[in-house]
Subunit: 327 residues, 2 copies
């Protein structure tokens, strides 16, 4: 059983993932690992993944067989386990609990070489709808408090499989980074009686210098205090605290944003995360769901680890200009 452990100084939680336990000799630099070869996520290899939780498939095709456009399966090496109780307990001054939670993989396409930046728009729409469906279902588990949807694309961004996929982890704790964001937004709301994200959207549309793309319902923007070169956020223009309220024009905005990044940076490794409200729903007024896309072009090093500060060599105004002009 994986273990959740809390740092007694920062209150930061870590998952000690026994499922993936590794000895010193197991750490091979990712760059030296061979890619290619057999792919368990390709169509026809359905028996090489755990059974599907949901799938979008042709009428009449049975589960776990070919004929699908998207599948969601449990992670074969889950960081957290869905069965069991939390068993919160202490160990001297330390706190821990069982690693309960969900860890799912969204297989975004049956085709090995298709990516979100290159697949047909309909494929992107399926992926974003699958996220919504899984979040809605996981919310029913009373032991869980938060769900994170994220994607690692490319070896440098931590992807261990080449085939386009994203991941969903549901947690028994609201994670620290999310709590900070929610608390920060709440402080702003208490002070100004306005949502900080709504204020950001207003200022970005007016200033234009960091605006990348805008449609009827969304903006894509290089944030004023971007941590990484070409960091890009997608925000809904209407105030909604949770991703389930996504609008159908999201897939166009997401596909176009990723495809511009793809052209300007030549298929860069990247991570994205969806930040949405917690299962409690207490953040409806002050929180505003959004996508954060982080290309991995530089290394995060000692200074960043030690301070939580970031050094970004590309001003967001310049990044936005490149992405805006990449028609």
């Amino acid at each position: 059983m994986p273990e959740l452990r809390k740092d007694p100084i920062h209150g930061r939680w870590v998952i000690i993932s026994t499922e993936r336990s590794r000895r010193p000799s197991d750490f091979v630099p990712e760059e030296r690992k061979p890619m290619g070869g057999f792919c368990p996520l390709c169509e026809g290899n359905e028996d090489r993944t755990p059974p599907e939780i949901i799938a979008y498939r042709d009428n009449g095709t049975p589960p776990n067989s070919p004929g699908w456009t998207l599948r969601v399966v449990s992670n074969k090496f889950p960081a957290l386990r869905i069965e069991g109780d939390l068993n919160r307990e202490g160990e001297g001054i330390y706190d821990k609990m069982n690693g309960i939670g969900a860890h799912e993989v969204v297989i975004e396409t049956p085709r090995h070489h298709e990516t979100l930046a290159t697949m047909p728009l309909k494929g992107v729409a399926h992926v974003l709808t699958a996220y919504r469906d899984r979040i809605a279902d996981l919310k029913n588990d009373q032991r869980l408090r938060y769900v994170l949807v994220f994607k690692n694309h490319g070896v440098a961004a931590g992807a261990s499989l080449e085939h386009s996929h994203s991941q969903i982890i549901a947690l028994p704790i609201i994670p620290r980074r999310v709590v900070e964001e929610i608390e920060g937004a709440k402080n702003y709301f208490n002070y100004k009686d306005r949502c900080v994200f709504c204020d950001i959207i207003r200022q970005e549309i007016q200033q234009k210098s960091r605006l990348i793309l805008e449609n009827n319902a969304f903006i894509s923007v290089a944030p004023f205090a971007s941590r990484f070169p070409f960091e890009t956020w997608i925000l809904p223009k209407t105030h909604y605290s949770s991703y389930e309220h996504m609008n159908s024009s999201l897939y166009e905005q997401a596909a176009q944003t990723l495809s511009r990044m793809n052209r300007v940076l030549n298929d860069p490794p990247y991570n994205y995360v969806i930040h949405t409200s917690s299962f409690s729903g207490l953040e409806a007024e002050h929180y505003h769901w959004h996508f954060e896309i982080m290309p991995k072009l530089t290394k995060v090093a000692g200074f960043e680890w030690g301070t939580g500060f970031y050094i970004n060599p590309t001003p967001p105004e310049e990044a936005a200009e490149y992405l805006r002009e990449a028609k």
Copy 2:
């Protein structure tokens, strides 16, 4: 002039480093960059670095010439500038100030292939003393509030030069990660009237399962909630809040710890940081300085960025056992 910008949601600061401004085509994956070739940090090439701020050198040798064992110089591409005023100002809802601060490089040895894990003990002692000397000097600058000493070793850990060196950045702001640590320690102190680090040290010496090395004044330990495989902290057994109180046996402890890591993990890429109290000195009772050494064996990916949670595949008890037994 570099710019410090504050994220209006999290209060997180970033440095927009115009000194290193980069276009899309400048981002070459580090792995594809050629290493080797001319080294500006080697003995004999003193004219290829900014002038030395301090140096430990043979009697009678003039500054910026051969005959040294250690040099500290300004960073040739500084993230922050030492000249000027902070000029704090707003831009709509955003906050920014000039990127004022110090950015120095500690050239740890005149010899290209020597590392902290392999150099004579005396060399390590010089490095740790240089840190102390520079911190003491930078504290005199009234515009600055915190100094971080850190090291990036190996390409995967963000080092852009092979020659063994570390860096010192002094900041006009106490960085977020440090504030969190100080606040966390203060909360613990307010609740228990004891230093949380002192309590950790007591429990680790008693439990032994995460203890790696112990001498008269220091312990090296795999933290209970390690974020990374083989993460190791070095803590002084006596309560001191700031690094300037380092004891002379620190260099033995640091050298042995790094050398064991070197043997067990085969010269791994790693980062280390020194966490010490801020220039205000207000943390004397509840804060406890320490080293955090973080081998870079796994990639930090979407889940970590999105949550601030970490997934660690190597239980700290197992990591400690490997390092303890690496005689």
